[in-house]
Amino acid sequence: MAADQTDHRLAILGGGVMGTGIATLAVGHGIPVVLVDVSEEVLHRTRANVALQLRHAALMGALPADRPSGELITSTSVQDAGDATAVIEAVTESPELKAKVLAEVSAAVQPGTAIISNTSGIPIDEMAAWVTRGDELIGTHFMNPPYLIKMVEVIRGSRTGDRVMAAVTGLLGSLGRRAIVVRDSPGFVTSRLLHPMINRAAQVVADGTATVEDVDALMEGCLGHPTGPLRTADLIGLDNLADSLQVLYERTGDESCRPCDLLVAKVREGSLGRKSGRGFYSYGKTPS
């Protein structure tokens, strides 16, 4: 029942970790992508990273073998998203930046085009005020790396229309992802649960209760967490994690969501996790 992948033309806004990974997922499933970022330098790196990630996905047997890759076009102009069948906005987790980009792309696309904000926590109803037609906005929360993790949290805002809901379900089907649809709330389900837990894990390390390695080992060995909270934090990106915690804290008042000092200090010194080569752990030079 999944629509033919050639029916889709995807525009992705933002060439960071998530934009890159979602582009890999789409291209690897035969769907053409226009990826837009403000920086030529970022786009240059994004193209190289998509090529590397396509190999990683093939290595892990995560791509369908029955279809050619979709074309990847990169651009510095949002206008090039104009004839997309769906847009995925994946810029930095800052409400101000998302507001600006969503308004721009909403004006550039045809009415009826699904506008998907990939966010780890900003309420969709809040963002619906930033687009021209609020019923065309829906949220997704892809996990990193999107081309290896098969499940996607989908957030239906109170204004999200049935047509957009169906379009996004079809798109995720073509991408081989399984969607779980939840209602709108700061942090939805996954971030509301995971982010305060990671924040506490960092606090436990700061308190000297246990090392980074031991915190992760306990969560893996005793509680069955697949990678441990702090290794997960490095994979998410500590800057994104701190931004998302701040979004959660401002909207819920939950003290456990206030980014802890250790996390803030790591972001300030540029230790952003796997993508910068160092976070709670050290990584080699090879970005992956």
């Binding site: 093939a58 290595l59 892990m60 047997g61 090879t286």
Partner: protein, 94 residues
Amino acid sequence: MTLPQTPGRASAEADEIRGTVLQFLKEKTLATPATDQDLFASGVVSSMFAMEMVVFLEQSYRVTIVGGDLKIDNFRTVDAMTQLVLRLRDASDT
């Protein structure tokens, strides 16, 4: 096991590759696995690190790992990686 049994060039090459791969694993993961140990099942390496292994082998031995060779079974053990490199180098020699 289909490691080269004959002494001489092939086994010396295999020993060198095994040693280099083990050294890389030790630097990156602080682990010294047995050469036939499943690195993924034993949690020594993650799926993210697997791609680093691919790039490392390509750069160290000037081979290109593509198509059907780009599969996780070829990277599951130090022995499997050694076999892959030997085979790809032989193919490019001829």
